[in-house]
């Protein structure tokens, strides 16, 4: 069965520092990968997605992620975070044999001044 693992439940970081949020997936077939962000009391918003092609995907708000098939990873990165990036981040995976998105448990990014 397909699964998504977010290795860190919380990531504290100071403003303007770089950050990496880790995501690993398990799938034996072609997979589509997503990162969503959830601000307090709001729904999820798409940051970026990988469907095919270039393994480096750029998203909104300066975020990017790299698809690594050999390591089954899709880590999210930002070179310099802002206070406004404080939120919950969810990695999700889908494939045509399951026809649904499977979400990870989320990583809480806390940016300190």
């Amino acid at each position: 069965a397909q699964s998504v693992t977010q290795l860190d439940s919380q990531v504290p970081v100071f403003e303007e520092a770089p950050v990496e949020l880790r995501c690993n997936y398990s799938s034996s077939v072609s997979v589509y990968l997503f990162w969503y962000v959830q601000y307090p009391n709001q729904g999820l918003q798409l940051l970026l997605k990988y469907l095919s092609g270039s393994t480096l995907v750029k998203g909104i708000n300066g975020f990017e992620a790299e698809f690594n098939k050999s390591q089954t990873s899709f880590h999210l990165r930002k070179p310099s975070v802002h206070i406004s990036d404080t939120a919950e981040y969810f990695c999700a995976a889908g494939s045509y044999n399951t026809d649904k998105l499977i979400f990870g448990t989320g990583t809480r990014l806390q940016v300190f001044p």
């Binding site: 729904g43 999700a92 026809d99 649904k100 998105l101 448990t105």
Partner: protein
């Protein structure tokens, strides 16, 4: 373009009572999803509609949960009777086509507290 609308935003009920949530997807979106998000967990798909037909309801507790999508637009999710473990945020999402490749657009959610 208006986003996905949900109501109510918050609901507090006692166990064994019933509750209903409403969702209005983005205009023209064929696929509608209901997710359950328990505190500290990622969203879990409860049911997926394609137009007004059910595509996937394998994780919907059918003894107490029901959902419908009238005329392929608005949708309601009902819980009857509610249990303590149903306390969660219920998210509605919509997409122009279907998963897995299509971007899903989420509403703000309904936070349900069962006492």
């Amino acid at each position: 373009e208006a986003g996905v609308a949900q109501s109510p935003r918050y609901k507090i009920i006692e166990k064994r009572q019933s509750v209903a949530f409403w969702c209005n997807p983005i205009s023209g979106h064929a696929t509608l999803y209901w997710y359950q998000q328990i505190l500290g967990q990622g969203p879990k798909l409860l049911i997926q509609f394609q137009n007004n037909g059910v595509v996937d309801d394998s994780q919907l507790p059918k003894d107490r949960f029901s959902a419908e999508r009238l005329k392929g637009v608005d949708s309601t999710l009902k819980i009857q009777p509610a249990k303590l473990e149903d306390s969660a945020v219920y998210l509605c999402a919509s997409s122009p086509g279907g998963p897995p490749a299509d971007t899903q657009y989420f509403g703000p959610g309904t936070r349900l507290t069962v006492l």
